[in-house]
Symmetry: C2
Subunit: 88 residues, 2 copies
């Protein structure tokens, strides 16, 4: 439609504000009833020569790694992996 003089000042302007979401948490599920999830390993009690511990917060066997970091990395373009405890 053709605007007449004077109409331009009343035109509605849409301003779109793009704001990043603040939810930068990395643990969506594990032991959310705990204020801080800390685990301990007494290293003399390790049974296998290599034991992988989870650092992706997606393992079904947390604090151990069950390989779930692979799916997480692929889905999110991430590059996280476990901490390997080695007896020697």
């Amino acid at each position: 439609p053709v605007k007449r003089a004077g109409e331009v000042g009343r035109k509605k302007q849409r301003v779109v504000v793009v704001r990043a979401e603040g939810g930068g948490g990395i643990n969506p599920e594990i032991r959310k009833n705990e204020e801080k999830v800390v685990d301990s390993v007494v290293v003399t009690e390790l049974s296998k020569n290599i034991t992988p511990y989870c650092r992706c917060w997606r393992s079904g066997t947390f604090p151990l790694c069950d390989g779930s970091h692979v799916k997480h990395n692929k889905a999110n373009g991430d590059n996280v992996g476990p901490l390997l405890l080695k007896k020697q």
Copy 2:
């Protein structure tokens, strides 16, 4: 006063929350040149009785924990913490 084009009395502000694609990553900074960040600890070489290892991906001394999980948890309502390796 005469309004010029683009100068409007009332702006309708629309707030759009967007999440970048793959925005579920948990490691924003550490060794992003590596396809997968895996670390190894030979437990017989641990020097201290307790050594905390980072699981929040915010430590300045990664793979060790430097306490940065506290700031991360507070800023994001999260509850992550380190893995403690204990000699006994």
